[in-house]
Symmetry: C2
Subunit: 361 residues, 2 copies
């Protein structure tokens, strides 16, 4: 069906080896022969068969991307960044094999096996790995030598790359800004204890609180699983308690939306009755009222860096010669109205214009 080297060889009146050499731009080819072969390739519209190449080289040139939820725009941006980097690498060209685990723990558990079956050469992990899965991924690296780069989560127990935002200093900045408005009682919506970036964000918060001289009974901390539901549930509990917080710090965007919903349902107003800020922006968040005060960072860049790290490791044959590497992506405080700043809404600029986020300093 498709045009092969053999067809080109016949058309050009040379051997298959010669055509292959021209295609691969190898040395020792007569100029006139090359010309003839190139013409035949052009005429027949020959395209090398990547499958045959892969078999020959015993490699798949495939990077697996395990992702929790592509429909979350932030992860979508990560995919875009990773795809951009990977498609920018020519010879050899790599494929991205995307596996969306959704919220299905079964699928997440099977992810490692799927990756092995597809024989991916490296993995980008943008999924909250449970302890059980962690073991499986550890095995992938240790027994099969498949390098792993984790997005926004520092996996323990084995060598892997990590790309994440400046979690601690970011949370510190955001919390500091919030505290500038003088709050008596702060609620912190944390992520799962087991996840390193959740810890880092809490750490940054506590650092700011400590510096500002807050007492432990002025601070509420509760861990959610990053979901809207948990943000809602926890915030609701706080609001109904006898001393509700005057400000809520959410560790991610989804929980923040849950918090906003809870506040609104309770009949309170943001920021008049309770201030709300969030690590992570919200896609099209400027259309929310009040506009959120958030910590903004470039998710495409995160995807790009993850792809770079994993490809570098693949080229070098795993992490044997490359120790765990961390890449930190800078964050930027984006001040909106939800923190209680006196910012007039007329001051805002259109957020869909790239790079137009307001920032402090």
């Amino acid at each position: 069906m498709a045009v092969t080297l053999k067809d080109v060889a016949k058309a050009a009146g040379v051997s298959v080896s010669t055509v292959s050499r021209v295609v691969r731009d190898a040395a020792y080819i007569d100029a006139s022969t090359r010309q003839r072969v190139l013409e035949a390739i052009q005429a027949l519209q020959y395209r090398p068969n990547p499958v045959a190449r892969r078999l020959k080289y015993g490699r798949t040139y495939t990077i697996g991307f395990i992702i929790h939820d592509i429909s979350n725009p932030f992860y979508g941006h990560t995919v875009i960044g990773a795809e951009r980097y990977i498609s920018s690498v020519k010879s050899p060209e790599f494929d991205l094999f995307i596996l969306n685990t959704g919220r299905d723990p079964k699928k997440e558990k099977r992810a490692a096996e799927v990756m092995l079956a597809r024989r991916v050469e490296g993995i980008i992990l943008a999924s909250t790995a449970t302890l059980e899965c962690l073991e499986a991924f550890k095995e992938l690296t240790i027994r099969h030598g498949i390098p792993i780069v984790s997005v926004d989560n520092c996996l323990g127990g084995f060598e892997c790359g990590v790309v994440s935002a400046e979690n601690q200093t970011g949370a510190y900045q955001l919390m500091r800004h919030l505290l500038g408005h003088g709050h008596r009682r702060i609620g912190i919506l944390a992520g799962p204890d087991a996840e390193s970036h959740a810890q880092e964000r809490v750490k940054g918060c506590l650092q700011a609180l400590l510096e500002a001289g807050y007492a432990s009974d002025q601070v509420l901390i509760a861990a959610g699983n990053w979901s809207v539901e948990d943000g809602y549930r926890i915030s609701q509990g706080w609001l109904k308690s006898e001393s509700p917080p005057t400000a809520i710090f959410s560790s991610n965007n989804l929980m923040c939306m849950g918090a906003l919903y809870a506040v609104q349902e309770y009949g309170w107003h943001v920021p008049r009755d309770v201030a709300v800020v969030s690590f992570d922006g919200i896609e099209f968040g400027t259309f929310l009222r009040p506009v959120l005060t958030t910590l903004h960072y470039d998710w495409e860049r995160i995807g790009e860096e993850a792809a770079r790290l994993v490809l570098e490791a693949v080229m070098k044959g795993g992490y044997r010669e490359q120790p765990t590497r961390y890449v930190r992506v800078p964050v930027q405080l984006v001040i909106g109205e939800s923190c209680g700043c006196r910012f007039a809404s007329g001051n805002r600029r259109r957020v869909w214009e790239k790079g137009s986020h307001l920032h402090e300093g």
Copy 2:
């Protein structure tokens, strides 16, 4: 490096053919032999090499997914749906090869060539194909026999599958609902003229307007390119005109956000001064104030149907025996506050609970 049939054969003391037969579950295998082979497979953790299989069969078992913007949650849902369907099909297993074209016309133009180079067997097209690209894709189908399924856009000039929402009847419903509030002047933010679903949505609008006895000078129609910018620009123009609309119908979510922004910037209030409704919901749109009145439909389902159609065509060897097929996904009117209904906000339910959208009738 990796375990091959040969290794298993040696371990089990049989020939490669025999192992292959066991793996493929072929007939004529002695029970005890099969047992021995299976044990060897288990012991050595043998996994068939998909690359070798593909080469042997001369197929790639790959479906290309050309997507305009994965970071748009709606397209993200489409990917999830397509991925779910494709991964549900076993023997043979197919891969999804995702190509994000972004807003880069160059990349979009090269998409067809990339798909040919990767030798995909079918294509899902969720990208606004320019006329130029259309020619390239036409060639893919006609000359190379690669079936194409278009998402939300009916490509002309060649046989292909189409999956889209009930555009016309949906727009009709939504517009009818809007008209129920008695408007004197309606602005319609349309999509590009060249795209069939843009036309269908306008058609539905006009149908409702005609039925309601609206005169042509009461209706404004302007075509945008689905972007926030265009929605903003066009709406701004309308608002500044001498007789601004009392209601705006947006053909998609992004343009609607632009419209909301323009209205707000102009100092008007939705829905008091101008009502706004939109085809397409907005991810987490219930967190917007006022809550939008929209037309909701299941994007995962769209991706699923697209994958089903394209796989069916691939199995049958192109569209030769299968005429163009349309799949229409039902829509649902979701009534919020932006249309001017008296709906109290307390009535709303939490939208992140699946399937909890309010609907009429």
